[in-house]
Amino acid sequence: MDFASEDNEEQAAFREVVREWMQTKIPDGMEHTVDTGDLTLEQYQLRRELGRRLGAQGWLYPTMPKKYGGGELPVENVVILHEEIGRAGFSIPPYYDAGGRMAAPTILVWGSEEHKDRFLPPICKGLVRTWQLLTEPGAGSDLAGVKTIARRDGDDYVLNGQKVYVGSSHGADFSWTVVVTDPDAKRHENLSWFMIPMDLPGITVTPLDLLTAGGEGGTGSGVKNTVFFDDVRVPAENLVGGENNGWKVATTHLEVEHGGAGRFGDRAIINEFIEFCKESHNGHAIVDSQESREKIVDLYIESQVTRLFAMRNYWMAYTDQPRSYEGSQYSLRRKLSGLDISEKMFDIVGPYALIKDEKWAPLKNALELFQREGITALHPGATTDIQRVIMARRIGIGRREVEKAGKIR
């Protein structure tokens, strides 16, 4: 086994190229905002600029095929890319973009050549940013129970309905979603999958305050939106994967969202936190206390297992290993260990972990955000309960038929 190759000559050269590129190509003025869901407009625009520059290299979505604007890089080089961008304090993509992370593999698996040619290059080049629209007020865990409806009318589908917990701040160019196209058909056979330009008439976006508005009414993290469709005419050519085949199409992005694609590297906050605990403040360091050291060790161990599950899934996905329950296992663990680690941090640093404050907050408010994210990350991309449902089906607990994992490339 080999958990992280040493660079060979070619890889070392690539690493050098990436490092040099970053020296000049990261836009001036880009800040290491801890809450990437809630950027200022200026910071968002700078990050989009970085996205376009990465995209021009094929590095924004480095595993995507070159012909669609990706980098088609081998797994080792992708890892190098993530590592080096990560070292600079950013990630790929550098802003929220459900189009590249989840719609692109979905279109790659289920789209026609025309779809791929039309949708993928703008995504991979960072020219557009895309939101995901799935949950509705009455359809959360039960995603197949969505009620938003698309009625065929000539060359268009006419959409009506409401989607919640959508996107982040500063809008999007596209969105993708599953909606009902055959109200009379059976569950799972009544849905279709659409790419939707967000500038179509009849789309309204209103912000949704999530945990937790600050003391002065300022919005907190996890800025999300409600999206309303009122007689929105979507061209039929934007339907991907065939009419009433939407549930199958969704298996791909759900697999990605449920952790099937894995992730490479640690949560940066873990190491930052441990270093913070070692630093001396007014002659005291948190690690001076044995109880704190014990809790830091717990937190470290907890984080290592999550890192390894993420790495295993990354390797499985990009080397086409047969996959089963691993995606949801990692997603479940990431959610629960995220909460657990946030609470251990809170236990260790006390109320300092709760404040957004220029004077007193440690790690530039990152701990406060992490406390809230411990909670807000529990449900998106399927609750912990649903992740367990999927694990049980894939393992075949109580049944001999075993559900297959969704295809992701």
């Binding site: 129970g145 919640v164 003391g215 006390g350 709760l354 957004k356 449900h379 998106p380 309960d385």
Partner: protein, 370 residues
């Protein structure tokens, strides 16, 4: 053995419950949550009129001299809101400190107005090196003749933005002393802290003059004695809060439909709620046993520490499981659950985190020399 509430307590429970339902409905609480100091004059007037600020205070000082258990029943109901504000800070913790540490004339001067709610006392102990043991008090009071002069910072002081009077711990010749100071005195600035926290403040003391007459008799020991009954009353608030989360979750489990049935039919959702009720009852019974021992004048230390560990953990975790039950809707501010989530974090360390009380239990159980 009798584990039921007595008639007085049932009355307190009913009256407070009515108050919370009528005067502190969800919209009111969501509005309060946006204020830098989460209390309004109107609401405070009502609370004062109900006599709650005087419950810990003997009749001779204008209070009603209720038992600790009586007072806890009140706070258990307030926790259901969760109703924020300086009620506990003034009516329980500061009242208890003045009773333990105040001189006869201080008690006579301060307690009657505290009991009527005319003055709001808030106690400031913790500093930048945060903690609830004696060594964490580092601020120094410099003697000037018979008076004193204070400079420094008190951090994470709960509910000080509503205070008229501060009780401040500071060192005189190395020993911790307690002082009363006008919250509006020159040199004091009180700043609410923003974040995943409620009603918590920073207080800066810049060369604040304090009269010698405002120094209390007792020091750190008196504070610790005063904290003993205050702690389980704070725990009762947390137990009540767990109860509210339980009710909210059970109701949601019946109403919310997914996959064609109420979500509460799924064993996983049931198990989240079973966790909540287990936390609720753990917090509640450890708390009331501690209160019973205190009211009966028995050694309550192990029970008090146990109650604080259990209720701090329980409130925090009950919120977590409440969020598991509610998923998306639970993190929408308007739904109201996050008021608890924030309060559970805010109060987790107040008067000592679980780690602090576990360490105290090591001593109380004679695992280490006292």
């Amino acid at each position: 053995m009798d584990l039921s509430l007595n008639e007085t307590q049932l009355l307190i429970k009913e009256m407070t419950g009515d108050f919370v339902r009528n005067d502190c409905d969800k919209d009111t609480l969501l509005d309060l949550d946006l204020l830098p100091a989460p209390m309004t004059d109107d609401l405070w007037r009502k609370i004062a009129e109900l006599g709650w600020m005087g419950m810990m205070i003997p009749e001779e000082y204008g209070g009603t001299g209720n038992s600790y258990t009586d007072v806890a029943v009140l706070y258990e109901e307030l926790g259901r809101g969760p109703v924020p504000g300086p009620m506990f800070a003034s009516g329980v913790l500061s009242a208890s400190i003045i009773l333990e540490a105040g001189t006869a004339s201080q008690k006579k001067d301060w307690l009657p107005e505290l009991a009527t709610g005319t003055r709001v006392f808030v106690t400031a102990i913790t500093e930048a090196q945060y903690g609830w043991t004696e060594r964490h008090v580092q601020m120094i009071a410099v003697a000037k003749g018979s008076d004193y002069n204070l400079s420094g910072v008190k951090l994470f002081v709960q509910d000080a933005a509503n205070a008229t009077d501060l009780l401040v711990a500071a060192r005189v010749d190395g020993e911790v002393a307690l002082f009363r100071i006008d919250a509006k005195a020159s040199g004091i600035s009180i700043r609410p802290l923003d974040g995943f926290i409620s009603g918590t403040t920073e207080i800066i003391f810049d060369n604040v003059a304090v009269s010698g007459a405002d120094r209390l008799n007792g020091g750190w020991d008196a504070f610790e004695r005063a904290a003993q009954p205050a702690i389980p009353i704070l725990c009762a608030y947390k137990a009540g809060a767990c109860g509210a989360i339980f009710d909210l979750s059970v109701e949601y489990s019946r109403e919310r439909q997914q996959f064609g049935q109420p979500i509460g039919r799924f064993q996983r959702v049931q198990d989240h709620i079973i966790h909540i009720v287990n936390y609720l009852d753990s917090a509640r019974w450890t708390t009331y046993e501690a209160l019973w021992k205190l009211d009966a004048g028995m050694d309550a230390a192990p029970c008090v520490h146990t109650a604080k560990v259990v209720s701090s953990d329980s409130y925090l975790r009950a919120c977590d499981f409440g969020h598991e039950v509610h998923a998306g809707i639970g993190v929408v501010r308007e739904y109201g659950l996050t008021l608890h989530t924030k309060m559970s974090r805010t109060l987790f360390h107040h008067l000592g985190a679980p780690t602090h009380h576990r360490k105290a239990l090591e001593r109380a159980l004679n695992l280490i020399p006292a």
